[in-house]
Every structure is written in structure tokens, then in C-alpha cells.
């Protein structure tokens, strides 16, 4: 427990100085605030930008942050020092995961400013689940890649699928059929309805299967690669 907190503390100090990761955390919330307030076209669906950016946030920030943080620590050999100082791999990974999740939730809280009071709970719950799955996938990339270069090239296609397909699906029904199998599209659909009652069995099942696959992949890669 102590070590997990130490990792979280370290990351808080480091993120403020790490522009690449820091931008990931703030860009979508800031864009949302600006666009929702600045652009108001007649007949545009409610919270158009907010929903679009929320999904991009899920598909981008936790993924990129986890992949970048873990692969950098491997590349610079700081992770090895932590391991030799009796920080257990699971403590490290939980520390990074919890930290990224909390920061992303803060971002989501900022994005939820335009929501009606009763919608905030469902919004944050759904976003929280989305972040968690993305964190698992981002960690898979970070653990698998041996340096930051490899991590970036691995995470790019994943990010395109998870973040962009749901956006393209707004304009194209065929793409929507494909993107439905991913949790980001399902979360988008839940956000469109914005109520717990509106969550279909199909959505619940697909998100669960996505979660299960992410967890399985995570343990598979972790078992194969470890943290060294």
C-alpha cells in the first residue's frame, strides 16, 4: 500500500513536467469547455462536442499515458531500480493505473460541467469504466514495448480504432456496425441515452466482454514479458 502511494506521488510530480503526458490529460477537457461554449449552431444535437470528445478522451489519454509512462521507465532503466528497491511489479502497475484513472476522472469531472445534475452520476460511472479498460490496454502496450518508440507505434493503431471509429460511425452506418464491437462505441451509445435504465443488455455484454479480453490480454502479456 505504501509503495503504491509512493508511485502515485512520484507520477504527480513527474506529470506536471512531462508535457507529452500532461497534454493528453488536459487537451480533451479544455477542448470540450471551449467548443461547448463557443459554438452553438441551430439544430445541432445537444452536447455534441462533449460526447464526441468524451469518447476520444477514453480512447486516447489513459492509453497513451500508461503506454508512455511504463515504456519510458523501461527504456531509462528506472523501473529496474524500483524493482531492486523492493517495489513489487503489481504495486507499480496498480500505482500507475490508479493515478491515471484519478487524473482522467478529474478531466471527466471538468467535462461534465455542462450536464444536468442527475446526469453527472451516470456520465462519470460510464467514463470511469471506459478509463479502466483503456488503462489495461495502455499497460499492455507499455509492458510489451521495450522502449517509447515501439510503444508509440503500437498504440497508434489501437487509438485510431478506439477513438476514431465511434466518431466516423456518426456519419457512416457500416462503420457503426463494426465499431459496435468495441467498448468505446458502446459507451458512446450509453452517453447518447444518458440514463442507467437505457443501458441495453447488448451494451452491457459487449463492454463486459471487452473488459474480460483486456484483463486476459494484460495477464498474458505480463506473464510473458514481466516488467524487465
Amino acid at each position: 500500500m505504501k509503495n503504491i502511494l509512493i508511485i502515485i506521488k512520484k507520477e504527480i510530480k513527474d506529470t506536471l513536467k512531462n508535457k507529452a503526458v500532461f497534454l493528453q490529460f488536459v487537451i480533451m477537457p479544455v477542448l470540450t469547455l471551449i467548443m461547448e461554449n463557443a459554438i452553438n449552431v441551430e439544430g445541432m444535437p445537444e452536447l455534441y462536442f462533449m460526447k464526441m470528445f468524451s469518447i476520444m478522451f477514453i480512447g486516447m489519454a489513459p492509453l497513451a499515458a500508461c503506454a508512455a509512462i511504463i515504456s519510458e521507465e523501461k527504456e531509462k532503466n528506472t523501473l529496474r531500480v524500483l524493482m531492486m528497491s523492493n517495489v513489487k511489479p503489481w504495486q507499480y502497475l496498480i500505482g500507475i493505473g490508479v493515478y491515471v484513472w484519478i487524473i482522467c476522472m478529474c478531466g471527466a469531472a471538468v467535462m461534465s460541467i455542462g450536464l444536468k445534475g442527475k446526469d453527472v452520476l451516470i456520465y462519470l460511472s460510464v467514463m470511469g469504466v471506459g478509463f479502466a479498460i483503456s488503462i489495461l490496454i495502455g499497460s499492455c502496450v507499455g509492458i510489451y514495448a521495450k522502449n517509447q518508440m515501439v510503444a508509440t507505434s503500437l498504440y497508434m493503431p489501437v487509438f485510431m480504432v478506439l477513438a476514431f471509429l465511434p466518431m466516423l460511425a456518426l456519419f457512416n452506418e457500416t462503420i457503426k456496425k463494426v465499431s459496435k464491437i468495441f467498448y468505446t462505441q458502446q459507451i458512446r451509445m450509453i452517453l447518447d441515452d444518458m440514463s442507467f435504465d437505457g443501458i441495453t443488455y447488448q451494451s452491457a455484454i459487449i463492454v463486459s466482454v471487452n473488459t474480460a479480453l483486456a484483463i486476459a490480454l494484460f495477464f498474458l502479456i505480463f506473464k510473458k514479458k514481466g516488467l524487465e
Binding site: 505504501k2 513536467k17 523492493n86
Partner: protein, 280 residues
């Protein structure tokens, strides 16, 4: 305390360590000398449980190195240049992480940074440190807590003579307080000054070992006397009656500028044993 027996290690086809054995008693400084690529770092990795090996036995703290627990690791300090620092964090914040892990108070961090002469760089980001300062930061991390075994991989390479002296003093102080120290170096003087025992490693084999003095004495078979004359000429003499007379005459005539006996140092011993220079 640190013991290994017949260790073999290969990377692919290439056998890097070919049967290494030694035994380091508590509270001693052991120096591993060898040219670049001899396998020094590889041996440290094996002894600290970071690397598997094919054959042999390795024990530290009376435990098989593959069975070291978390508490054991807190009792082992390792400094090697492959270990990174957090580039964006300050010296203080870098050490704070490890101080928190070991439960060490903040005052001790400042103390340790002062110990290695980094007191003016406390708030400097690690990425802004010079090479020598970075080495000192890595050393500070090891000196932060008080482990009973230290592994130092070339702790003074790239440091200026003043800082080298400083580090030597810290190492000797650590020994004084009962610490067992395993260090590698290219620097013969350093080894002769610090180490109770050295082993000369060449191409994966320990070619000789013992106290630095013993080793040098053992290879003192030439026993030459070198004389530099006031005229600028250099002369070489052996230990026998005829040479003694000659030297005596030169001395009476006041022709001698300097006179030296040429005892071998670790450098020349190494050269003789392997035909290779240590530093290059």
C-alpha cells in the same frame, strides 16, 4: 557474505563468464579488475539476482541469489550506470522516492546529497546534471540507507580527482561501519588504495587474486633499479654485486638525479598476465 562457485554465463554462443569462484568475507572491500568487456557488470548482475546463469552457485547474505526476498533487497545497495534516474525530477525528488520506500527522513536526503557534494544541485533536474554529477546522484541513492552489502560498478569512472577522493573516503567510511563492498574498476590506483582483495578478470576467467600488495610482490621477479642521471640519461640495473658497485660510484660522483626500484603495480601485472592493457 558474498560467495560464488564455478559460475558460467553465456549470451547466445558467446561464453562471457567461464567458471568464476570467490569468497568475500564480511566487512571487506573486494575489487574486480578487468578490461572493458571482461564480464564485470555481468557478474554484478548475477550476484544481485538480476540475471540468470547456466551453471554454478552464487550466495549473498547466506542466501541463494535467486531466492532473495524484498527485505534482503533493502539490505543490498547497487550502483551501476545502467540504472537510470528520473530525468525530469530534481535530485531531491529523485532521492525522495527511495527515501519514502525505505522510510528514511527528509533530513537524511539533504545530508546524503551534501555527502557526495551535490548540495548546490538539490533542486536541479537530473537532466541538467553533468555526467559526474549524475554518477554522484546515483551514488547518493545507494548511500541513502545503510545496506550491509554494496555493489558499485565503476563508481568513480568519469569523475575528477577531487570527487574521486571524496567517493573513496565515503567507501572507506562505509567499510568502517561494517559494510561489505564489491566494486569494479579500471583504475589500478583506486583498487590498490581501497581494496583488501582484488581479482583480475580477463575474458571471463579470474587470472589471479589476492591482496594488491601480495599480487604485486608475487610478480616482482625482475627486481630492477632505475636511475635517472643529472646528464638526463636513464639507466637500468639489476640486483647484483657488479651493479651495486656501479651505482655506488655514480652516487659518489653526484651524478644521480633520481633513483627508483621498479616494483610491478597491478597495471603491469595485468599486462604480464594477459598481454592486455586495462585501460583503453
Amino acid at each position: 557474505m558474498i560467495r560464488c562457485k564455478d559460475i558460467h554465463k553465456s549470451f547466445g554462443e558467446k561464453e562471457v563468464l567461464k567458471g568464476i569462484s570467490f569468497d568475500i568475507p564480511n566487512g571487506k572491500i573486494f575489487g574486480l579488475l578487468g578490461p572493458s568487456g571482461a564480464g564485470k557488470t555481468t557478474l554484478i548482475k548475477i550476484l544481485t539476482g538480476q540475471l540468470d546463469f547456466e551453471k554454478g552457485e552464487a550466495y549473498i547474505l547466506n542466501k541463494d541469489v535467486s531466492k532473495l526476498t524484498g527485505e534482503d533487497k533493502a539490505d543490498i545497495g547497487i550502483m551501476m550506470d545502467q540504472f537510470g534516474v528520473y530525468e525530469r525530477l530534481s535530485c531531491m525528488d529523485n532521492l525522495k522516492i527511495f527515501a519514502d520506500i525505505y522510510g528514511i527522513p527528509k533530513s537524511r536526503i539533504i545530508e546524503t546529497l551534501a555527502l557526495v557534494g551535490l548540495e548546490d544541485a538539490i533542486n536541479k533536474a537530473a537532466s541538467d546534471l553533468s555526467k559526474g554529477m549524475r554518477v554522484r546522484l546515483q551514488l547518493a541513492r545507494v548511500f541513502l540507507n545503510t545496506p550491509s552489502i554494496l555493489f558499485l560498478d565503476e563508481p568513480t569512472t568519469g569523475l575528477d580527482p577531487m570527487t574521486q577522493k571524496l567517493i573513496h573516503k565515503i567507501i572507506l567510511d562505509k567499510k568502517e561501519s561494517g559494510c561489505t563492498i564489491f566494486l569494479t574498476t579500471h583504475n589500478m590506483e583506486e583498487a590498490a588504495k581501497l581494496c583488501d582483495e582484488v581479482a583480475l578478470l580477463n575474458e571471463g576467467v579470474i587470472v589471479d587474486s589476492g591482496s594488491p600488495k601480495d599480487i604485486c610482490r608475487r610478480y616482482n621477479h625482475q627486481k630492477k633499479i632505475l636511475i635517472h642521471l643529472t646528464s638526463g640519461k636513464d639507466m637500468e640495473f639489476t640486483h647484483d654485486g657488479k651493479c651495486a658497485e656501479q651505482i655506488c660510484r655514480l652516487m659518489e660522483d653526484g651524478k644521480i638525479e633520481t633513483i627508483h626500484s621498479s616494483e610491478p603495480n597491478l597495471e603491469t601485472v595485468f599486462l604480464e598476465l594477459t598481454g592486455r592493457k586495462l585501460e583503453d
